[in-house]
């Protein structure tokens, strides 16, 4: 177990290092931030001073080494636009994205898992067919369109829910959160539902496919032959085997919720990292873009790591020490 963790850790370091190279080079060959950031009225001398201050006068490899050196001290560089450390700029926005992604994931699980279980256990019922047809819609309707429809219906027509911003927030653990206030929670519902729609369908279909595979196994029949109650057969014998593929998807999809919630955040004016990254790309705020991408790399590496660990918890066959 320990050796696995260490080996994983070393692999992760390599992945992260390779990504610094790709991300840094990729971002630094596009456009010229000076054109955007510097007031066109400035004279050449002042202009050069800005370039020097941003470190853009140095050759690319030197910039990269400076960047790497900063990384070792947790310094991702200073935002061109905000004049503050890039990491701080992102961390300011991260709680908003995090709480939204978490709520969306919870919704997707709470709806997707039971419905998938039901549709898998009773595939011939009409209700199961309705569920499966519905999940196709969840899959195929574009997120932005659904988001707009949500706003039109629940915010404009019915006036039930707010459609813009985070609402009131409360400070907790050094960050501001919406989910702790009634007003903030109301603001979260529509964007979270919007984000959850696709994930719900995904988890639902995956669960159903898993159930149908597991139900046909001899050990389920044997569990019934032992006279176990149906609840125990489903919730222990079937569900526990099912969780292995589902956990993989939950982990990766949670990452993608955080990393790619751009569309939903833009539609609902949610001030999260998705919106920040789009703004930063438009303004060629390289340090923020690089810092953001690096954080996402770390996020996915971490999630994969957590998924691997949870495999060993869920599936005794994966445990390597042989003692169970």
């Amino acid at each position: 177990m320990i050796t696995t963790i260490i080996r994983r850790g070393i692999q992760a370091m390599f992945v992260i290092f390779a990504m610094t190279l790709i991300v840094f080079l990729g971002v630094n060959v596009i456009g010229n931030p000076v054109d955007i950031l510097v007031n066109p009225d400035l004279n050449q001398a002042e202009r050069l001073r800005v370039v020097e201050r941003l470190g853009l006068d140095q050759p690319l490899w030197q910039q990269y080494l400076t960047f790497l050196k900063g990384l070792t001290q947790g310094d991702f560089g200073t935002s061109f636009v905000y004049g503050r450390p890039a990491l701080d700029v992102i961390l300011d926005r991260l709680p908003a994205t995090l709480e939204l992604a978490l709520l969306a994931m919870v919704i997707a699980l709470v709806i997707g898992l039971p419905l998938g279980l039901y549709a898998g256990l009773y595939p011939n019922r009409i209700s199961s067919r309705v569920i499966m047809t519905g999940s196709i819609l969840g899959f195929s309707l574009p997120t932005f369109w659904v988001g707009l429809m949500f706003i039109l219906l629940f915010a404009v027509e019915l006036g039930w829910l707010p459609s813009n911003g985070r609402g009131s927030t409360v400070e907790f653990l050094g960050a501001r959160w919406s989910f702790l206030t009634a007003d903030g929670l109301q603001h979260m519902i529509l964007p979270a539902l919007n984000l959850a729609l696709f994930k719900t369908s995904l988890i639902l279909r995956l669960t159903r496919a898993g159930v149908q595979e597991v139900v046909a196994q001899d050990y389920v029949k044997f569990a019934r032959a032992k006279g176990l109650r149906e609840n125990r057969v489903i919730l222990v014998h079937i569900l526990k085997n099912l969780m292995i593929p589902v956990v993989t998807i939950i982990g990766l999809e949670f990452g993608s919720l955080i990393a790619f919630s751009v569309v939903t955040e833009s539609i609902f004016g949610w001030p999260g990292t998705g919106k920040l990254i789009i703004d930063s790309i438009n303004l060629l705020d390289r340090p923020v873009v690089v810092a953001y991408l690096m954080m996402m790399v770390v996020l996915f590496v971490t999630l994969n790591f957590i998924i691997d660990i949870s495999y060993t918890l869920l599936d005794p066959r994966v445990r390597l020490d042989g003692k169970g």
């Binding site: 011939n124 050990y219 176990l228 109650r229 169970g324």
Partner: protein, 323 residues
């Protein structure tokens, strides 16, 4: 005294669409006394496993028992409600499956799989269940049972897993155990061990057994009586010795002749020509007639039972001589 199990004209069908059904079990009738061992012999697809699952009430949907009665200790199981059937399963009627690699849940500890069977039928505490599970493992010859309770199925060999499955089946001292080819997936040496163990445990307790197998040699060593199934019907039934020494039905005779040890060295192994007919397209009348050397026009109508309920055959042209 009424027999423990009295199966009367059991029919189990699987719908195949367009209103058509497949008869996997076709009017099967037999009785099983207390402490008796019945060998249910037949090729794959002969309906022997489905018969077992019909008695358990575990026929895979959309298949179902469509007519007939299964009288167990005076109660008709086909009329019993699901909860009553559940409460019989594992407690009074237990089952052991063919492939021990597949019957134990890979993600649950052995101990859990034993104790949950106890908790399903008894109001007992955690410690008592644990102790009984440990004793059950010891009973089937698993060394250091206390530690093995914490192990997972993949840490056991196939033979050990089948012992665990047998331990589970025996937990509640059932009246009847249905053993569905429990040794087919095991090595020959392990097979012999498991059979001996199984025989010892069921004899000690006077448990009735339906031993489902395609292996006539195993059935002859174990069973008091043998029922031979073909195409969903019992084509011959009788005392083991009688059936083996003087088979009446040509199919039974063919089965016995195709056991290699029956042949003398150097002679060609006898085979039954052709293959088991598809259930969807059974010959009319006697299902075996397309493979039978003795078949004639009479075989196009369905043979009834010749003989009494304990020993009979279904053949218009039975062998009279010994094998």
């Amino acid at each position: 005294m009424t027999p423990l199990l009295d199966v009367r004209k059991l029919v189990t069908e699987f719908p195949v669409g367009h209103g058509r059904t497949l008869r996997a079990v076709d009017e099967v009738s037999f009785q099983l006394g207390r402490g008796e061992v019945l060998g249910l012999v037949g090729e794959s697809g002969s309906g022997k496993s489905v018969t077992g699952f019909s008695i358990m009430g575990l026929v895979d949907g959309p298949g179902r028992v469509s007519s007939g009665q299964i009288m167990f200790d005076g109660m008709d199981l086909t009329q019993a409600n699901p909860e009553a059937r559940r409460s019989l399963r594992g407690r009074r009627i237990a089952m052991v499956f063919q492939d021990p690699m597949m019957t134990l849940n890979p993600v649950l500890r052995i101990g859990t799989q034993l104790t949950e069977t106890l908790h399903a039928h008894l109001q007992i505490g955690h410690n008592e269940a644990h102790a009984r599970a440990r004793d059950a493992l010891a009973l089937v010859g698993i060394p250091s049972p206390e530690e093995r309770l914490d192990a997972y199925p993949h840490q056991f060999s196939g033979g050990m897993r089948q012992r665990v499955a047998i331990a589970i089946a025996l937990l509640h001292q059932p009246d009847l155990i249905i053993a569905d080819e429990p040794t087919t997936a095991l090595d020959v040496t392990i097979q012999a061990q498991i059979i001996a163990e199984f025989q010892r445990l069921t004899e000690e307790r006077g448990t009735s057994v339906i031993w489902i197998t395609h292996d006539l040699a195993i059935a002859s060593g174990l069973a008091d009586r043998i029922a031979v199934m073909y195409g969903g019907r019992i084509v011959e039934m009788g005392q083991t010795d009688d059936v083996l020494s003087a088979p009446r039905h040509p199919y039974t005779r063919g089965l016995i002749r195709s056991v290699p040890s029956q042949n003398s060295r150097g002679t060609r192994l006898a085979q039954i020509p052709g293959v088991t007919p598809n259930l969807a397209n059974m010959p009319k009348g006697c299902a075996f007639r397309t493979r039978c050397a003795r078949a004639d026009a009479a075989c196009e109508s369905r043979p009834g039972r010749f003989g009494g309920p304990q020993a009979f055959h279904r053949c218009f042209h039975p062998h009279e001589e010994t094998a």
